[in-house]
Subunit: 110 residues, 4 copies
């Protein structure tokens, strides 16, 4: 199961993440708050893409966890009750999954 | 909080969903199985869009729940242990949120 | 992969679900609203257990999907923007997983 | 919205988390692998409780994120494709929510 790695990326755990960060208690219209968290992700340099329900990010596990925490703090440290939903798909030895996963599904179904 | 509705859509609960459906126990490469569930969603007629971690769907709550169950059965009825992750954002009186939510975030951040 | 089933439960897809249902836009204290949705689940007759983050339910896939939709409607039909997070673990031929899954982990770790 | 804090816990962001960590590609019976991740959480010293679908943890946001990453690495660093599902509920100034949230629901519904 363990894939061959050359020495310089032995610690790299490629991670595709889907994350949603939103405050509770600020009414029904949340876009200006949600945007503050997404801005942190966009400024991170990691590959990312926002859809209607979440932002997808790709990077090393540690980088992804750090940027999710930083984006969460952008809201939580203002004192808002903050809800986070995070899913990770971690595959050692993979890269550029953020687009390849969708292309593969499209290819199968065409 | 209740928004005005005209009579013919009083029962319509607009729902943006994010769903991931995958089998367990069939190895690491799951695209051909995942595609079977996504095909059910694409054939449903509901507005939908697949990203690297999930498929986003928009429709009435009942329609969305039915299509998620049907797509799940496409795998589970073959006898596979099947994992489903579903998030719903339900807003009475809204429409076409699948694209408008992202456009609003982009507008705020530009 | 398909497990032997006797005829009368061939359609039964045993499902352990974890569900969280909450309104958005009603302030930070949500317990009285969350409780309305949990009440629907407790009144359903399905095996269930509430923890700090979700309610776990076990039953046939169709029953679980119906009760999740009914519990969601308890909030959404009042006009509240409603957020649902649902995870399903579906295994044909299994029963009583709601307690056995935890007991098995405890046994391995003791 | 920001709650008064005395100086020594101004940085403490109380977090109730629900986490599921599992490998993909190792067959249908995953308990021995799931237990390896749960062991890391139980050894962490943070308040925690395992249910049929996830493990609930409570602590400061940074501690929770660190322990989730460490528990994830217990599987991912063995080379397994690893799936993580994490939800966070962050409320500055709160403590001991892991039991109080359920007790409050039970009190409302009794």
């Amino acid at each position: 199961m363990v894939q061959a790695q050359n020495s310089q990326d032995s610690a790299y755990l490629n991670t595709v993440a889907s994350v949603t960060i939103a405050p509770i208690g600020l009414g029904e219209e949340l876009s200006t708050y949600v945007a503050q968290a997404i801005k942190v992700i966009r400024d991170s340099g990691l590959s990312n893409e926002t859809n209607a329900m979440s932002t997808v990010i790709e990077g090393d596990l540690s980088e992804v966890m750090q940027i999710v925490e930083k984006a969460t703090r952008a809201l939580a440290e203002q004192g808002y009750r903050t809800e986070v939903s995070l899913k990770l798909d971690i595959r050692q030895g993979k890269r550029s999954q953020i687009h390849q996963k969708v292309e593969l599904i499209d290819k199968i179904l065409q």
